[in-house]
Symmetry: none
Subunit: 131 residues, 4 copies
DNA sequence: GTGGTCTAGACCACA
DNA sequence: GTGGTCTAGACCACA
């Protein structure tokens, strides 16, 4: 898989990496058990500090998206929900609130936002079929 | 107008203030030319650091929502959009893509995500009616 | 509260810090809403790098033990279970397996281990009364 | 004797090997003076790096569980405890305290913890009978 | 080779 | 003042 970062910093670098891996897992570009680039390899490729990559991988591991194979890098983990329903909603709402804020700042209305999300979902998840 | 902040961390305080003023302008609660509380007055009222209020007003001024009246505080500006439609959509989509990955990772489906966004919008923007 | 670290490294420094704060919360030495030392202050006190303290606080925040107050440091969070029953058991078992390993290495039998845990519980939680 | 490893990450591979040999010695499955598989043979059998096996044997040798027979592999040593009772308890308590904090943080009570430890012991040490 | 920990220190956002 | 991000780089554990 190909990861790209942009220094035009809307998002921090480690977040850009984590997001892209999340997306690749979600879209099936990466499958369970598949190895991802090692911390050092990716850092070299992107010309960033290994610590930054490690931070992204660490977050993904804590969220159950990746799994460290001691001494042999990271693989895509067999996903399962580790958070309670309440906690999952809390996390979703937190992200949604940021989104709404950002949308308002950009001058979009609630309806425009909903419609645009719909379109992105169709594009990102053409074969809608998650739990 | 009445501004409220909550220390519950989801959003930074300056963003809470800026968003509330944006909404008030957008819903017509504040009209063009109307004066808003001074930096010091609002900071005192909310028991927060004046820098925080100044940061919010500064962002709103840069975005053309407010207009500083040297020596006499801020008034609601005659608003105009700064970004082109394309640029605004590009920025929104960036945030939306991040949201979708995160939501799916948390185990939500596209439909659940849309529904939840709807609910948050009702809560955050009860009197919907944007430009 | 007083945090102490020892370079005799059975545990990494950030882990020693996290453990001690966990314990202080559990025993009631720290109560909900109480502020803990700032990252920089504690780092200075312990003569270690701020990043190391930040790592400990970060873990505790992710586990819902602490809560960051943007710009104003960390406080003890209102605890709630964020993990599913399955995940909580998985995490407990992981720690238990390490413990058993360590106990075996030290030459203790299973019965001795159980008995000793009993004693430690009495000492650490004299007023047993958790959910 | 039959050694099994699992790549599921809880314990490092070398530790899994060392623990299994300790258990076998302790339960009498391996008796004093008995030879164990050579580093290369076991590594080949488990399809792992010989360094990993060597690391396990090294630790066991330092702890007096095994004895290297120059040129002829390792045998089970006539075991003696290296640490004093006090030192062993001190080390155990350190791990136990860490366990208790973590368990309570995860929402388990002392009783649940004891019960769960019991279960893990049954699973990990089915034929209980230590020195 | 792999990742994990830690330091020293810069720079930024926010209160 | 607070924490967050990132770099450069050392050293260690493990495979």
């Amino acid at each position: 898989m190909q990861i790209r970062i942009s220094v035009g910093n809307p998002q921090s670098i480690y977040r850009q990496i984590a997001d892209q891996i999340r997306r690749a897992v979600v879209t099936g570009e990466l499958s369970v058990g598949e190895a991802i680039p090692s911390v050092r390899q990716l850092a070299k490729e992107l010309v960033i500090n290994p610590n930054t990559v490690a931070k992204a991988y660490g977050e993904l591991t804590r969220d159950g998206v990746l799994e460290g194979q001691p001494g042999r890098g990271y693989i895509v983990a067999n996903r399962k929900n580790i958070y309670t329903k309440t906690e999952r909603l809390r996390r979703l709402d937190q992200v949604l609130d940021s989104l709404v804020s950002e949308a308002i700042t950009l001058g979009f209305s609630g309806d425009e936002l909903l419609e645009r999300l719909s379109k992105r979902l169709e594009k990102l998840l053409p074969d809608q079929s998650l739990p």
